[in-house]
């Protein structure tokens, strides 16, 4: 069995090949997909309309997998053992059908003018259609339908939802929940037409859509119609190959995911497993894993799946778990707050059967693992927020992550056995929390209860986290490390707490980092205002705001580098790095640079580094805003700002994004209307694209938002935590961040603004200040007893016409 061919390249196919690769399959894997790209994250599809690119959504192709994109399989020759495509035949030993499903479009007149909501191309088409439209209607008020309606709303349309059932989301909520959901959605300005079908799509004489006619004859005005009325499995290939299919469609499979031909498997939405078609990512992933394991000789089986769902649609939390009825039920309803929670219980009132939540999904997280098990507390306690529910002990076989089928016991094993000490560790060990993320609060709870003390102590000298120390220093107005450690710590500090406290003092007071006692807190880089290199020499990086430099200043850098014999290299941040300086040379080098108008670039500090830019609208024919001017303004505004870790930024003048702003801690991309602000990007060890925080900001709004973002980060992040990890660690993530810095939910904004004002008002170039102070300058010597003598251990060889470190004899 050397050749595995997969037909269809959606998420289930991806999970299948990924599992094969993980299990060490060493044969040939070929995936045939009709879309122009590998599988992408359909759960996050809607984010494509708000700026996430197709590339970001696309899953990486596992190494060694051969892909045939833009290729449609047209037949299966089971005798010969190959799949027929337009290009020829693809021979297989094992064939896996992952052909997915197609949206169901009811055969009503005018249906050919409607759109569906499934692929990136569908969304492109809807976006184009929305440009000339004022109103849109989505047919289907299920999970995906509401998402499509939200997308239309985000595209600026007045959105309608037409649902056949008497209430929205009939598969997830009952009538009571449906009515609470409806009022939430109507409050957002969407119209709900429940209990209504579609008679026809109405068009004008030129074939343009003008509305949707309901069976009662009334017409909903709309220029865009999107169908989201269920799915139909794509089983045509299997059908024509003579494989068994269900009466109402779907490729029949056994619990090993095998079809009626033992050499052919089917997984995902095209498979009819136990008489059911599954349209949720969790079960489809499980099917893919089962098939992969079976093919590798394992014994995994698919015996149905938990269809529990929790989601946030249009800002409303909706969740359903377990059964949707039971002998007894307990309901909590608060129409004012828009909250509806219901639990279903067995007739002896002992066993939890299921539940429905609208407006507050917390019972989903705490109670779903108890489905089929004894009620952990009286139902009335469980339904009130903040009651004992959070302290429940989960049984080992309780499923915590339904997307990846991970139970509480698996997580406990990861914590105790594999040493997972935080949520990231659990994710890496078990995959729990890596798909929809709804179980992350549960993972945190399991960690806390596991007895693994997640210590927040900075080091042995302080039992506080960095954020707590920041507050202590701020509120008690502490000015020195000695005062802080005497009053709030023990011992005399170390290489962990000293630079951290130095950074806090710098963020809050902004004095010179080498003033008085603070000189002894700094890491060697800050102590010498330069970057130490492997041989004990330092490198020098003058600030070049926005990467813009005059020829005269460029020449000065060249002359300094030449005169001091420094290795010269352009950095990734549009600056120039000069290497190989001995400590006693640093003041001489900087005297020349400061005289020519340069300032410290803080390349050595946990501080703002650079704000890169593309050339922008001044020169570029595509640019829509002056990205260089903005980058310079931002770099000058935040220069010298000390922070928990380095901060990088970039500004792009148009959506082509030549400045790579989305790999930065804060990145700005120009739009026709203003600026889009992205936060939490990272290159480095764990690359991460920045998330869109706010769209189309004016220049003032942009600067105010960045001011607060940076100050809130500086206040609350851990030591050496980049913004990417910080945002991931925020409870409530990006939404919470928006609430705090844009809606001022904590009443902090005035304080954050004042702190930034203080920073800007008190900024001074620290190299200039050092050159002006004989005391500070006197420390820049290799040998205190022989100030003029260079360090004999520092020697250089040469490479490509420049110096390189060599080993001293």
């Amino acid at each position: 069995m050397n050749r595995i061919v997969v037909v269809g390249y959606g998420p289930a196919a991806h999970r299948f090949v990924e599992t094969l690769a993980d299990k060490g399959f060493d044969g040939r894997i070929t995936v045939i997909g009709e879309e122009p790209r590998p599988a992408y994250d359909r759960v996050a599809l809607t984010s494509y309309l708000s700026g996430t690119s197709a590339e970001d959504l696309t899953y990486p192709v596992p190494g060694g997998v051969v892909t045939r994109l833009n290729t449609r399989a047209t037949g299966i020759d089971r005798q010969a053992g190959h799949v027929v495509t337009g290009d020829g035949a693809e021979p297989y030993d094992v064939l896996v059908l992952a052909t997915g499903s197609a949206p169901f479009v009811p055969p009503v007149p005018g249906a050919e003018h409607a759109y569906v909501y499934r692929t990136i191309e569908d969304l492109d088409a809807i976006r184009v259609a929305a440009k000339d439209a004022a109103e849109g209607v989505v047919v289907g008020g299920g999970l995906l339908g509401l998402e499509a309606a939200d997308a239309l709303r985000a595209l600026g349309l007045k959105a309608h939802i037409v649902e056949m059932s008497p209430w929205l989301m009939p598969r997830q909520v009952d009538e009571g929940g449906g009515s609470v959901l409806k009022s939430h959605i109507e409050e957002l300005g969407l119209s709900v037409h429940a209990g209504a079908g579609v008679q026809e799509i109405v068009t004008d004489g030129k074939g343009r859509v003008t509305g949707l006619r309901k069976p009662d004859g009334t017409v909903v005005d709309a220029q865009v119609v999107v169908f989201s009325a269920g799915i139909r499995p794509r089983d045509e290939l299997a059908r024509s190959a003579g494989l068994a299919v269900g009466e109402r469609g779907g490729i029949v499979v056994d619990s090993a995911m095998r079809t009626s031909d033992p050499a052919i498997y089917a997984v995902g939405e095209c498979a009819l497993a136990g008489g059911m078609i599954y349209g949720l990512v969790g079960p489809c992933n499980t099917m893919a894993e089962v098939a992969a394991e079976q093919i590798m000789g394992g014994r995994a089986a698919f015996d149905g799946a938990d269809l529990s769902t929790k989601l946030k649609l249009l800002g409303v939390e909706v969740a359903q778990f377990g059964a949707m009825d039971g002998a007894l039920d307990v309901t909590y309803m608060d129409p004012v707050a828009g909250v509806y929670k219901k639990l279903f219980i067995s007739d002896d009132a002992r066993t939890l059967l299921g539940g429905i939540c609208v407006g507050d999904a917390s019972p989903y997280t705490t109670l779903r693992p108890f489905v089929g098990k004894p009620l952990p507390a009286p139902p009335s306690d469980l339904l009130f927020t903040g009651s004992g529910a959070a302290n429940l002990d989960l049984p080992d076989d309780a499923q915590v992550c339904s997307c990846n089928n991970v139970c509480a016991g698996d997580i406990r094993t990861a914590i105790a056995g594999s040493g997972a000490a935080d949520v990231a560790g659990i994710k890496a060990c078990t995959r729990a929390g890596t798909t929809c993320g709804s179980c992350v609060p549960m993972l945190k709870q399991l960690l806390e209860k596991s007895g693994v003390e997640v210590s927040k102590s900075l080091c042995e000298h302080f039992t506080y986290s960095r954020a707590e120390l920041f507050d202590i220093v701020r509120v008690r107005k502490i000015g020195t490390f000695s005062q802080l450690i005497t009053e709030h710590g023990q011992g005399r500090g170390c290489d962990i707490c000293k630079p951290a406290v130095a950074s806090i003092l710098a963020s809050l007071h902004n004095g010179h980092v080498l003033e008085g006692e603070r000189a002894a807190l700094q890491d060697t880089n800050d102590a010498f205002l330069a970057n130490i290199q492997k041989n004990g020499t330092y490198s020098v990086v003058p600030r070049i705001p926005g990467g813009e430099i005059t020829p005269d200043k460029l020449i000065v850098i060249g002359e300094v580098a030449r005169d001091f014999g420094l290795y010269t290299k352009i950095t990734g941040g549009q600056r120039i790095d000069l290497f190989g300086a001995r400590v006693e040379q640093l003041p001489e080098i900087w005297r020349r640079l400061v005289d020519a108008g340069f300032e410290s670039g803080h390349a050595y500090g946990k501080a703002l580094r650079t704000v890169k830019s593309c050339v922008g609208s001044t020169w570029c024919r595509y640019g829509v805003q002056d990205s260089v001017g903005m980058a310079i303004a931002l770099e000058l505004r935040y220069r010298g700002l000390r922070s928990p870790h380095k901060i990088k930024s970039a500004v792009s003048g148009c959506a082509r994004e030549c400045a790579e702003a989305r790999s930065k801690d804060f990145g700005i991309i120009a739009t026709e209307q203003g600026w889009n602000l992205y936060v939490g990007g990272n290159g480095g060890f764990r690359p991460r694209h920045a998330d869109l925080l706010a769209k189309d900001l004016s220049t003032d709004e942009l600067i105010r938002t960045i001011d607060r973002f940076l100050m809130f980060y500086i206040r609350t992040a851990d030591r050496l935590q980049r913004t990417a990890a910080w945002i991931e660690s925020l409870d409530g993530g990006l939404d919470y961040l928006r609430e705090v810095i844009m809606q001022d939910s904590l009443g902090l904004c005035a304080d954050l603004d004042a702190q930034m004002e203080h920073h800007i008002a008190t900024y001074a170039d620290e190299w200039q200040a050092t050159l002006d102070d004989p005391d500070k300058l006197s420390r820049f010597v290799s040998f205190v007893n022989a100030p003029g003598v260079p360090d004999p251990s520092i020697v250089f060889g040469s490479e490509r016409g420049q110096i390189r470190p060599a080993v001293a004899r």
């Binding site: 042995e460 011992g491 290489d495 007893n785 251990s793």
Partner: protein, 106 residues
């Protein structure tokens, strides 16, 4: 025992080091918060670079220490022993104050 003058005691910042060249030996001299002096070889045995005098001075469980500025291994200022890797030790030198001047003996 020959003593070589390094610098005035008052010129040394508390909790920072300086480096002295004694013949061809580089000596890192530290003044701790309580006023005590310690002297170690300046060479960081992990990287081979002569940089220990530029490390951060602190304590570990009460013992005065310096951390290498390159990869942060911590050394005892008293014994020269690396507290992160048992087998590694750097030389320790005698140090004293004579007439307000710091002196080391190599």
């Amino acid at each position: 025992m020959t003593w070589t003058p390094v610098c005035d005691y008052d010129a040394m910042l508390p909790e920072r080091g300086v480096c002295a060249l004694v013949g061809d030996v580089q000596v890192a001299v530290f003044r701790t918060y309580d006023g005590a002096l310690h002297a170690l070889a300046n060479r960081d045995p992990f990287s081979g670079a002569y940089v220990l005098s530029r490390g951060i001075v602190g304590t570990r469980k009460g013992e005065p220490t310096v951390a290498s500025p390159l990869h942060k291994q911590v050394f005892s200022l008293v014994s020269g022993r690396c507290l992160d890797e048992d087998a590694v030790t750097v030389p320790v030198y005698p140090v004293r104050v004579a007439g307000g001047c710091v002196e080391v003996s190599v």
